[in-house]
């Protein structure tokens, strides 16, 4: 029998349906892989007993022909999703041993459809980071290495555990969240497919909040088809999230393999940066050529406010974070540090519980919202955000179906390499992805090639609101042309 962990979700679904193996066998294979890959630090909590219980229960259902679209498929869950009776920390010391008495809507839909939970995945603390180095459980290791080198590379962030685990065949797919690029950047760094859905497509209920007007949940998987399968279960209206959209969930998988003939693909000139590595430039032209060969039409477009997206993001996101994270006060859950009075108790708890990056962002957010600075910073950033969204609207109004860009300005870098005194250097990682969050659009990162050192590189496709299907069709064209990439196993 082939190694069960190397199957795609689509292949495993078939194997389970024709009784080639059981979900328990599939789950056990993944639990063994997780145990053998602890050096990657992708999981912060393994839940083998729960996984086996869930697998046995779903096997019984499959035997009766019941199942569900994800019946028996073992998944990893980013530790930002609340899971009932299973510790959820957002990888922050301040949540301590928080055990939610409720389940996030997105994960509850995965279990409704028959998926099996293997455990909780590492991420940047409160999803604030682009290298998975801010987690209180320590950095995640990218299964990819430069050819002929033992240097430990980051998997990107904040969904670094999700990307690393999917790339290293520790789970068949994973949940992730994306506020400025946290699904697409790690997907690009690990040769996985990452989807950031349209704002409102997936419920945010039960997901630890970072920046509520930007946060969206989405899947990381090894193929476009697998990502489409997961998306169908994750998406959908939820009365418990007032920003969740009441709109039918399409069969995303049906978009895989659909012709892209006649589609207009925008190539935005503002994404061509000075000093961009020639490899990224080459990958981008290659991707465009593949889409053209599949019958799409390439159109030069302009998104004039692109360069302002990242600075505007670093006002809006910290502002929302400072307000969302006010709840961590040592009273209702998580860590408490004593103080001589209640204010000191709050201050000591938050100084001890939050890591350096979170403290910095909460402070900058507090500053831009404070009296006298609110208009100059926050309101101005929200106006710029309106302009960024309008750039895309103008582009789509001209008949553009999707926009093709590089996913990241570089391949994965070394652990600690960008931990210098200037936080902005790390923030520049999200330069191509953050516009999508600011405009609330869907985006997908698809593996498209490797750099000279053998590290994976990804392309990003940006779609019209609620047109994830077009992204899956185009992503599949790239996948068929570029092939799939699996890291050689060294761990």
């Amino acid at each position: 029998m082939t190694d069960l962990t190397s199957l795609t979700i689509a292949e495993a679904r078939e194997g389970l349906a024709n009784k080639s193996f059981t979900s328990l066998e599939l789950t056990d294979a993944h639990l063994a892989a997780i145990e053998a890959a602890r050096s990657l630090n992708a999981f912060v909590l393994e839940t083998p007993e729960k996984a086996r219980d869930m697998a046995r229960a779903i096997d019984a259902k499959i035997a009766k022909g019941e199942g569900g679209p994800l019946a028996g498929i073992p998944l990893g869950i980013k530790d930002l999703f609340s899971t009932r009776d299973v510790r959820t920390t957002a990888c922050s010391k301040i949540l301590g041993n928080f055990v939610p008495p409720y389940e996030s809507t997105v994960t509850s839909q995965l279990w409704r459809d028959g998926a099996v939970m293997l455990g909780k995945l590492n991420n940047d603390e409160f999803a604030m980071g682009s290298a998975n180095e801010t987690s209180c459980f320590g950095p995640v290791v990218n299964p990819w290495r430069r050819e002929g080198s033992n240097t430990t590379l980051v998997p990107g962030g904040s969904s670094g555990g999700s990307a690393s685990a999917v790339a290293a065949l520790l789970c068949m797919g994973a949940t992730a969240t994306d506020t400025g690029g946290s699904i697409r950047q790690p997907a690009a760094f690990t040769a996985t497919v990452g989807v950031k859905p349209t704002y409102g497509r997936c419920s945010r209920w039960g997901i630890v909040a970072f920046a509520s007007s930007l946060d969206q949940a989405g899947p990381i998987a090894r193929t476009n088809r697998d990502a489409a399968i997961l998306m169908r279960s994750m998406a959908g209206h939820d009365p418990k999230d007032s920003t969740s959209v009441d709109r039918a969930v399409p069969d995303y998988e049906a978009a895989i393999g659909k012709s892209v003939k006649g589609m207009k693909i925008g190539i935005p000139k503002e994404y061509r940066l000075d000093g961009m590595p020639t490899e990224i430039e080459k990958l981008w032209s290659e991707g465009a050529a593949w889409l053209k060969a599949a019958g799409a039409e390439l159109v030069d477009v302009s998104l004039p406010h692109t360069k302002y997206a990242l600075p505007a993001y670093y006002i809006v996101a910290p502002a929302e974070a400072s307000s969302n994270l006010a709840r961590y006060d040592g009273v209702r859950y998580g860590l408490r540090e004593q103080g001589r009075n209640i204010t000191e108790m709050y201050e000591n708890t938050r100084a001890e519980g939050f890591g350096a990056e979170v403290r910095r962002r909460v402070m900058i957010g507090t500053y831009v919202l404070s009296a006298g600075y609110y208009d100059a910073y926050y309101i101005r950033a929200q106006k710029v955000r309106t302009l960024i969204k309008k750039d895309f609207e103008d582009c789509f109004a001209k008949g553009i179906n999707a926009i093709l860009t590089p996913a990241t300005p570089s391949a994965a870098f070394g652990v600690g390499e960008k931990a210098g005194a200037d936080p902005v250097e790390m923030y520049l990682n999200d330069i191509f992805t953050v516009t999508v969050n600011m405009a609330g659009l869907p985006g997908i990162a698809v593996p498209a090639g490797k750099d000279a050192q053998g590290l994976p590189l990804g392309l990003q496709l940006i779609g019209r609101p609620f047109d994830e299907e077009t992204l899956f069709s185009l992503g599949e064209v790239v996948e068929q042309a570029a092939g799939r990439f699996t890291p050689p196993r060294w761990w």
Binding site: H305, Y308, A312, R359, S370, R380, R385, T386, L387
Partner: protein, 95 residues
């Protein structure tokens, strides 16, 4: 714009994060690096532009004003660091 040491201490207090004197210069440098980075927004012409309030055009949904949850005090206090019966305990606030 940039922040001085006094402002850093004031922001830290507003954010309810204890900051030691030794941390202030470092934090000041980091916050000023971020402020320098966002400074480029001042070159954008935003005359007559509405600030964004909702990224997807949608009407605020309302639900019936009825009790639809509750009677779960054990769940509510189960993760709290200090409780008594079904109350959260905090340091004394009123003398």
């Amino acid at each position: 714009m940039s922040v001085d040491a006094t402002t850093v201490r004031r922001i830290a207090h507003l954010a309810r994060i204890a900051v030691t004197e030794a941390e202030v210069p470092h934090l000041q440098g980091e916050l000023n690096a971020m402020l320098a980075f966002v400074e480029q927004l001042s070159e954008v012409n935003v005359d007559g532009v509405e600030p964004m309030t909702s990224v997807t055009p949608m009407e605020m949904k309302k639900r019936p004003d009825v009790v639809n949850d509750g009677e779960i005090p054990d769940d509510i206090v189960r993760n709290a660091p200090e409780t008594q019966n079904h109350f959260f305990l905090v340091p004394k606030v009123v003398e």
